[in-house]
């Protein structure tokens, strides 16, 4: 483990206070020009009680620079599109502080777009191209000019990094940091629940709400997609008589008497409307926002989450965006900023949940809210090994004959390392052109993810332990899907991959019936038009309506490696799947099972190695390493 200093230094103190001061200045009419940089969106993500949006329309000259036309852009007099970082010159700091130079990976998709540096230089009266601005910065940092700088610049561009990370910090643990009995003093009991404001696991503060991949990816703990819910402890939900998905009216009791800032929200001044970018329609839409009934309250579905603190409600930020296109269209969750205290506090007391008697519009891929009595995700005590599973001795299907010297692809997923972040699943979706189907289709059970991350709870609902389990195709040696296909559309290849031949598939779906892992996905609709954008991966074909698809172990990467190996005369040829490359904890190992030195072979020899549903005799190529934890009842886990 390495402790790195914060790349940008400690945040300056009193930032929130400065925003409040700015709003006060704006309301007083003392702000003549307001510039929003970097796609910031305070009209949405500032606490509604602060009244930023109302103050913004009073600023005579307001400009928004951003990649999306969002709530702030809609209220500004001018919105200018910002190019994507991959379209523009720039520099960045990695998580550990390593500086890097950024070159455009593509010509600008909109040639008129100007990066922030260029736009700022124009406003400052000395127009500078982005590349020149970056070079000027690094001239200063390196303190060099002339041929020395040029050489160093070229070298940094080639390497991609412009220096080393700062030295790691040696941080000793405070003695007695884990001593028991240091529980914080009990908070004063307020009527109602405690509210905790937390960023959405995928949308963060709402900045990523325009990303359909993230919207449709089931949230790690709740499996909710395309929206959010008020999270409660199961015991609290039971006390309040709330079932999962019941709609409640959420209000902060202490503010009940105060006039609602939302109710007082003014319409746009008439003279502003025609000048709004996005036109009259957008202005109407903003005006048409329903003024919530005073006191400030919002409606949201509730979701009991095992392990949640009792008598507390988690309000997730990032939902309920109002402007930003189809992906953030109305109805994608509730907007917790409307309840957030004006000072931007992360907690509030006196939260009142009043059932409306309706069901909230909530889509989740998890309809088993309780605990999983299954042994799909295994847990072993530290130092222990799993008991060996008896292989089925007999099979009607003969073993596959493999040619000499071929590779046997396999994958091992370490459940002890998996943190359930879904990075693998999003990487898989991006890599393999997996379509986004929308909330209605997900509600019908038609999501298309090739890789899903299951979460299992063990132990009591009040304090469960959890295990995340990514489930891709198992590429079974004795794949149940293969013999049932009437047209030979799913086959075993010479390296042991279970390959899906989309062109041959007629769509009987019987392979999905016979897949005990339920990893096969069917194209219920034709998604090709939506996917045929420059963002798609040209290496992976788009699938037509009516065919099955599933995880291929990134077979296009395997094919590319094979070609590379042939060209390199046998050298090279390592393959990294998209999920493996994206995993921040390196929980996924992929490689050749015939090579005893490969990571996946080493994982197979580990005492924690097991196969999912091994008792069926499918002999999966994907195996797991059990999670290491003390058995339930022997104290908390790490």
């Amino acid at each position: 483990m390495r402790h790195a200093p914060p790349p940008l230094g400690a945040p300056p103190p009193g930032r929130r206070g400065r925003l409040a001061a700015l709003v006060a200045e704006m309301e007083a009419g003392r702000v003549s020009h307001l510039l929003h940089l970097g796609g910031c969106n305070p009209a949405y993500d500032a606490p509604a009680a602060l009244g930023f949006a109302e103050a913004l329309v009073r600023v005579p000259a307001s400009v928004h620079l951003g990649r999306h036309f969002d709530e702030t852009a809609a209220l500004c007099r001018l919105h200018a599109p910002l190019p994507h970082p991959l379209e523009a010159w720039g520099d960045s700091l990695a998580f550990d502080g390593t500086p890097s130079l950024r070159q455009p990976a593509t010509p600008k998709l909109a040639p008129e777009a100007r990066g922030e540096a260029e736009a700022l230089s124009v406003l400052l009266g000395a127009p500078t191209a982005e590349r020149e601005a970056v070079r000027a910065t690094w001239r200063g940092v390196w303190g060099e000019d002339g041929p020395g700088f040029e050489a160093r610049w070229a070298a940094a561009l080639e390497e991609g990094v412009a220096g080393a990370a700062p030295a790691p910090l040696a941080l000793p643990l405070r003695p007695g940091w884990d001593a028991a009995g240091a529980a914080p003093a009990a908070a004063p009991v307020a009527p109602g629940l405690s509210a905790v404001f937390a960023p959405d696991p995928h949308l963060r503060d709402g900045a990523f709400a325009t990303n359909a991949w993230l919207q449709e990816m089931p949230r790690p703990l709740t499996k909710i997609v395309w929206g959010n819910a008020v999270l409660l402890a199961p015991a609290t939900a039971a006390r309040l008589g709330l079932a999962p998905g019941d709609e409640v009216e959420v209000s902060l009791g202490g503010e009940a008497a105060a006039p609602s800032p939302d109710a007082a929200r003014p319409g746009l001044p008439e003279d502003v409307r025609p000048r709004l970018l996005g036109g009259e329609q957008m202005a109407r839409r903003i005006d048409a926002r329903p003024a919530p009934a005073a006191p400030a309250a919002l409606r949201a579905p509730v979701w009991p989450a095992p392990g949640h603190a009792p008598e507390t409600a988690t309000l997730l930020l990032g939902g309920g965006r109002r402007v930003g296109g189809e992906v953030v269209a109305e109805g994608r969750g509730y907007d917790a900023y409307r309840l957030r205290p004006a000072d931007g506090a992360w907690t509030a007391e006196g939260l009142v949940l009043r059932p409306t008697g309706r069901r909230g519009a909530l889509v989740t891929t998890d309809s088993h809210h309780g605990l999983d009595p299954t042994d799909a995700a295994r847990v072993v005590a530290p130092g222990d090994a799993l008991p060996p599973v008896e292989e089925r001795p007999f099979s009607l299907h003969p073993d596959w004959p493999y040619p000499e010297g071929v590779r046997a692809w396999g994958m091992a997923i370490d459940l002890d390392a998996c943190i359930g972040c879904n990075a693998c699943a999003v990487a898989c979706q991006a890599e393999n052109n997996v379509p986004v189907v929308g909330p209605a289709e997900v509600a019908r059970g038609r999501e298309m993810h090739w890789l899903r991350v299951e979460r299992h709870h063990h132990g009591a609902a009040e304090a469960p332990s959890g295990t995340f389990q990514p489930v891709p195709c198992m590429h079974c040696e004795k794949a149940p899907c293969e013999p049932v296909c009437p047209v030979n559309a799913t086959l075993h290849d010479h390296e042991g991959l279970n390959v899906m031949v989309h062109a041959r598939c007629v769509g009987t779906r019987t392979c999905s019936n016979n897949c005990p892992y339920k990893v096969r996905r069917f194209n219920w609709a034709d998604h090709r038009r939506a996917l045929a954008t420059p963002a798609r991966n040209p290496e992976v074909p788009l699938r037509p309506r009516g065919v099955m698809e599933k995880c291929t172990y990134c077979s296009h990467r395997i094919a590319e490696a094979r070609q590379r190996a042939a060209a390199d005369d046998g050298a090279g040829g390592a393959v990294e799947t998209a999920c493996q490359r994206a995993c921040p904890t390196q929980a996924i190992a992929f490689g050749d099972l015939n090579d005893p030195g490969s990571a996946v072979s080493r994982a197979r020899r580990d005492g924690r190695s097991y196969a999912l549903l091994a008792e069926l005799g499918t002999r999966p190529r994907t195996t797991y390493l059990a999670r290491v934890a003390r058995p339930a009842g022997q104290g908390a886990e790490g």
């Binding site: 891929t365 998890d366 309809s367 088993h368 999983d372 009595p373 299954t374 799909a376 509600a443 019908r444 059970g445 038609r446 299951e454 299992h456 489930v471 149940p480 013999p483 049932v484 296909c485 009437p486 047209v487 030979n488 041959r504 598939c505 007629v506 769509g507 009987t508 779906r509 019987t510 999905s512 019936n513 016979n514 005990p516 892992y517 339920k518 096969r520 996905r521 069917f522 194209n523 219920w524 609709a525 034709d526 037509p544 309506r545 009516g546 065919v547 099955m548 549903l613 069926l616």
Partner: protein, 491 residues
């Protein structure tokens, strides 16, 4: 006079006759054929008052020029239903199976449930007709013709689903082994390929069975149409009568062919329904992976087919004034057969509950519990009530001949088997190997339209059949009549 006494005696024989006796009977059959040939079928018959027992009402029904308003209404309704079917198929082809309510893991729903149900109706009906022909049962004169017709119509309705449920139905022919540039053959290990052969042979054998049995009667209709001066009708009937003249050689060959095809129907009971059952039983889905599924599907299929034939018989004898030809004893026997099939189904259900909840492994027990007591519990218990329990009422003699009892019981038995198939296809995957509970499958309007459309097609086929073809086998009725006369003479 009526066929009653003869039928009663035949019932007694039927209980006692062995296969050897069936062979012995061939001699009497050929004599019967000779007797029929003595009165050539193409000889004009007077339309005036004939013997008390004659087949003229049957032929009149087929040759009448005008039909009643009730028939026209039924025809219009079913024709409209077939239009709905065409619309549903059009929508399905244009927009894909996504218009249905299926998902993962409910990749099958109405498609396979309805398919299995129609196959069950067809199988039980044609099995029933074939057994009657092979045992030369007196009842066959009354019901086997429309039992065959119902079987054929049900097979046609069933045949829609294996093709239409595909993601890409226009590629369904890839299941057929043919030399193609792709160099690919079907996967012969897949039960879906067996299914192709199962339903193909079912269509071929059922339609041959029905058609061969129809030939002498087509000749009769040809001749009677000619007598009435209806040349076009006579030519149409004559085309399909294949030049039948009623010679002894014709009768001989016809009987041989008819009984051979009837014998071919018997393995269909094992092929078609077994293949349907194997589509489920060969998967690793714990709720399906059971050897008992094959006898389950075959045996519970019987009440649906018999129930459909029973209801049809009760309706036909009323609406077409065929009380003499389909008499109370026929209805009595048919009712008792239905009740017996229901009794067998009761045993099957008892075994299902016992095996699934107690004897099987843990995964299967959980799956069965989810199916029996989960959200689809009404389907399973409804099936038990309608298929196995309700037809037991037919053991009461008074109910067996009462149309108000037999029609609803027959129809409800068929509906109960549908519930059974739905419970199997949808409820069987409620609980699988992975701890994954997913949205329940809910059929959409398109699926109901398709199902209603196939039912309308079934009805339309039977109505057209009842309009243009003899619903009761005329030549066998005459044959039975001559046999009966001979018995009287012998006495």
């Amino acid at each position: 006079m009526s066929v009653g006494p003869a039928l009663l005696r035949r019932l007694g024989w039927a209980a006692a006759l062995s296969l050897a006796a069936t062979a012995l009977g061939a001699a009497s059959l050929s004599r019967g054929g000779g007797a029929e040939a003595a009165r050539p079928a193409h000889a004009p018959e007077p339309d005036g008052p004939g013997p008390a027992f004659d087949t003229r009402p049957v032929a009149r029904a087929a040759l009448r020029r005008r039909t009643g308003w009730g028939f026209r209404l039924a025809l219009s309704a079913s024709a409209f239903g077939v239009l709905v079917l065409a619309f549903a198929v059009g929508v399905l082809l244009l927009r894909g199976v996504g218009v249905w309510g299926n998902n993962i893991p409910h990749v099958w729903g109405f498609d396979l449930a309805n398919y299995a149900w129609w196959i069950g109706v067809a199988n039980a009906a044609s099995l029933f007709a074939a057994v009657l022909v092979l045992r030369r049962h007196g009842l066959r004169t009354a019901v086997n013709r429309f039992a065959e017709a119902a079987a054929l119509a049900a097979v046609v309705a069933a045949a829609f689903y294996p093709v239409l449920h595909l993601g890409r139905p226009w590629l369904a022919y890839w299941v057929v082994p043919y030399p193609s540039v792709q160099g690919f053959w079907p996967q012969f290990g897949s039960p879906l390929v067996w299914d192709l052969w199962g339903i193909l042979s079912h269509v071929l054998v059922t339609s041959t069975f029905w058609f061969v049995g129809l030939i002498p009667d087509l000749a009769t209709l040809r001749d009677r149409a000619a007598v009435r001066g209806r040349v076009a009708a006579a030519r149409a009937y004559g085309l399909f009568a294949l030049g039948w003249r009623g010679s002894v050689v014709h009768w001989h060959r016809h009987q041989a062919a008819y009984r051979m095809v009837a014998a071919l129907v018997l393995p269909l009971l094992l092929s078609a329904q077994t293949v349907v059952a194997l589509e489920f039983a060969t998967t690793v889905v714990p709720g399906w992976h059971q050897a008992r599924l094959v006898p389950h599907i075959v045996l519970t299929g019987l009440p649906s087919g018999l129930g459909a034939v029973l209801a049809l018989a009760a309706v036909l004898r009323r609406t077409l004034d065929l009380d003499d030809l389909i008499d109370d004893l026929d209805m009595d026997l048919l009712s008792r057969l239905t009740a017996a099939a229901a009794l067998a189904s009761l045993a099957v259900y008892a075994h299902e509950a016992l095996a699934g909840l107690v004897l099987e492994d843990a995964a299967t027990r959980e799956a069965t519990a989810a199916r029996l007591f989960g959200p689809l519990a009404p389907a399973w218990f409804g099936a038990v009530a309608l298929v196995a329990l309700l037809p037991q009422a037919l053991w009461w003699k008074r109910l067996r001949t009462a149309a108000w009892a037999t029609v609803p019981i027959g129809v409800l038995a068929a509906a109960g088997v549908w519930l059974d198939r739905y419970s199997l296809v949808v409820g069987g995957v409620l609980r699988e190997r992975m701890p994954e509970a997913r949205p329940l499958y809910v059929p959409t309007v398109d699926e109901w339209a398709l199902f209603g459309g196939t039912a309308a097609l079934f009805a339309l086929a039977l109505l057209v059949f009842a309009r243009f073809l003899p619903v009761v086998s005329m030549f066998e009725t005459r044959h039975e009549e001559t046999e009966h006369e001979r018995e009287e003479e012998e006495r």
